[in-house]
């Protein structure tokens, strides 16, 4: 394991940002720390980088204990949400910074900067100042700067959070390809479940300072450990006291399946190819069901019609523990 976080706790005054967190992040993979804002994921990343210190617990990077190492000695690349560019230096100087303070030979620095700028497609901007770049270009420059010192791990704190939706999508696909190319252990923080599901090899779901679940995107989506993970990764509704996905509910206009819950369609909403039905069951539960338009038309569901609901075969079902907003 590349990064081992062992019983780490961090408080800011009364607020517990991390509560006895233990997690291992695998070598050479792209891992996402996913969770709602204020859940502690950025704090964990900053503690791994040495930019914050844990109140208790240990961190080891590549097998060496890094708990007491200052940020300068951890050999970690860090990319910030708001780029953190050195405004008074050109793009090339920004990328060269880490190498220059390591007093590498000039020719080597020039060659390495050249190679990195090519990697992030900024070669033609080498002599510009960061203020002359777009947000996406600045973030790619920051990435090249972090990679220049050949870090053992690359940490990205909401790297695409400040970019507009289109650039964000482009950049995350590009990050995935870059990672496959460079193969450095990478951890990135995000609150966007789509981003995590699309890019990451492994996802660590963090909420209220605790790790809720660790797994591949498929594991998390198909076998959520609890209600929270399930609701964070997609739409959720409840049926008969369990949480499940709205598209995992079978709907029929006659009580053909055993255990079907009877209810009345209170609202029918068509959004593009899908139909969303709100069903009020006889137990007083409000259930959302999603089905395709063709299916809805075939079984003839309408507002006011009586229907029977059953969980689909193989659906991910989680016992309902608390109210899901």
């Amino acid at each position: 394991m590349s990064i081992d976080v062992h019983h780490v706790t961090k408080r800011f005054g009364d607020f517990v940002a991390l509560d006895d967190v233990t997690v291992s992040l695998p070598t050479g993979q792209l891992t996402a720390l996913l969770g709602p804002s204020g859940g502690g994921k950025s704090t964990l990343l900053r503690i791994i980088a040495g930019l914050d210190t844990a109140d208790s617990g240990t961190i080891s990077i590549e097998g060496t204990d890094a708990t007491r190492l200052p940020a300068q000695k951890r050999n970690v690349g860090f990319v910030f949400q708001h780029y953190a560019v050195f405004k008074h230096m050109t793009v090339a100087k920004n990328v060269a910074f880490g190498l220059e303070i390591r007093r590498r030979p000039k020719a080597e620095v020039v060659a390495r900067v050249d190679e990195l700028l090519k990697l992030v497609h900024l070669s033609q901007f080498a002599h510009r100042l960061p203020s002359q770049l777009s947000g996406g270009q600045r973030q790619r420059m920051a990435l090249a700067r972090a990679l220049a010192v050949e870090p053992s791990v690359l940490l990205l704190d909401e790297p695409f959070g400040a970019l507009d939706a289109k650039v964000r999508k482009e950049l995350r696909e590009w990050l995935r390809r870059l990672h496959d190319e460079v193969n450095v252990t990478t951890v990135f923080v995000t609150h966007d479940q789509e981003e995590a599901l699309e890019v990451a090899d492994e996802i660590v779901v963090i909420n209220e300072g605790r790790v809720e679940q660790v797994g591949t995107p498929d594991q998390l989506y198909d076998e959520p450990a609890n209600d929270f993970v399930m609701s964070f990764l997609g739409d959720v509704t409840s049926l008969g006291g369990s949480s499940l996905r709205p598209h995992d509910i079978e709907i029929s206009t006659s009580p053909v399946l055993a255990g079907g819950v009877e209810g009345e369609v209170s609202r029918l909403l068509r959004i593009g190819f899908e139909v969303r039905a709100n069903v009020l069951t006889i137990d007083g539960e409000e259930v959302t069901v999603v089905l395709t338009r063709a299916h809805a038309r075939a079984i003839g569901v309408e507002e006011g019609s009586t229907v029977w609901l059953t969980p689909a075969v193989g659906a991910a079902v989680v016992p309902r523990m608390k109210a899901v907003v």
């Binding site: 980088a49 040495g50 930019l51 200052p70 940020a71 300068q72 000695k73 951890r74 050999n75 970690v76 690349g77 860090f78 910030f80 708001h82 780029y83 953190a84 560019v85 050195f86 405004k87 008074h88 230096m89 100087k93 910074f97 880490g98 303070i101 390591r102 190679e115 090519k118 990697l119 497609h121 033609q124 510009r128 002359q132 770049l133 777009s134 996406g136 270009q137 920051a142 700067r145 972090a146 220049a148 010192v149 650039v167 482009e170 696909e173 590009w174 390809r177 870059l178 496959d180 190319e181």
Partner: protein
């Protein structure tokens, strides 16, 4: 290494082309981009500037030139005048140098550190600037004059001049550096640290270059104020010819003797000194800012 990334290169072509056009050293296109409103603003600015600054300056140079070059050289050839110019410029440069260091440190303390009484200190910084200069002189005289409660009798010495100048110019660099320091992102310093930079390297290569323009602006203000100072130092310095007489005192005594032409000649010399120093500071500032 980049072969697998040729695909994304195509994706980014679009983004790059919507970015700003490549920078040129000189901007192309029409030189005059004034709209009618902006033209009016520029007009008002120029009239005001001319009335207050340009016309009086020209008047001084014209008055100084009335006696021809010989009048000019006679004024400067006087040992007493030359001593006053030397004293004023040396002490002003010294005080400005002190302010660059101390002012930057005070600004740093006020922005980065938390301590009891910080907000009070923040207000008090402006007192030397807000105080009528003659009152400042009185304060200094009572502290460092004869029967000094501190036991420091600096009246009628060069130290008195420097002390008075340091007192009135203290706020300039603090006040120009403070807002810039507040705007610096903590992110940037953390980024440098994670790249392996020590605290000293971060200060030298990241923080100082960002502060250089503000420090230079404050230094220019501080120097300009120092060479023109009168009120705060007349009481304490004693205005002894060849020892503690500064240029502004010398100019006044020329005028009191009805010798306006000499006063103007000396004034124009100080104008040249001020210009040289301000341009010099700008050059230094550009060097430091680009050092990164």
């Amino acid at each position: 290494m980049t072969s697998a990334l040729l695909g994304p290169a195509a994706d980014f072509a679009g983004e790059a082309s919507t970015g700003r056009p490549p920078r040129r050293r000189r901007r192309q296109g029409p030189r005059n981009t004034l709209t009618p409103g902006a033209g009016l603003g520029l007009g008002i600015a120029m009239i005001w500037f001319s009335l207050l600054v340009l016309i009086p300056l020209v008047a001084i140079i014209v008055t100084a030139g009335e006696g021809g070059w010989s009048g000019y050289f006679d004024v400067l050839a006087s040992d007493q005048t030359w001593a006053a110019v030397q004293l004023t410029v040396t002490q002003s440069l010294l005080v400005t140098a002190v302010n660059v260091v101390v002012g930057t440190i005070i600004a740093w303390v006020l922005v980065r550190d938390r301590f009891w009484g910080k907000s009070v200190l923040n207000v008090i910084i402006d007192v030397p600037f807000a105080l009528p200069t003659i009152v400042a002189g009185l304060v200094l005289l009572s502290l460092y004059g004869p029967q000094s409660p501190l036991g420091l009798e600096w009246a009628n010495t060069e130290r008195a001049v420097m002390l008075a100048l340091a007192f009135v110019t203290l706020p300039f660099i603090v006040r120009t550096v403070q807002p810039v320091l507040e705007e610096l992102d903590a992110d940037v310093e953390e980024a440098a640290a994670s790249l392996g930079a020590t605290r000293a390297t971060i200060v030298r290569r990241i923080i100082l270059p960002s502060l250089a323009p503000a420090i230079a602006a404050g230094a220019a203000l501080s120097f300009a104020r120092a060479i023109s100072e009168y009120g705060s130092l007349v009481l304490l310095s004693g205005n002894l010819p060849f020892r503690t007489e500064v240029v502004s005192v010398r100019v006044l005594s020329f005028i009191e003797n009805g010798n306006t032409q000499s006063a103007a000649a000396l004034a124009s010399v100080m104008l040249a000194v001020a210009l040289v120093v301000i341009v010099g500071l700008d050059i230094v500032q550009r060097r430091v800012a680009n050092r990164g």
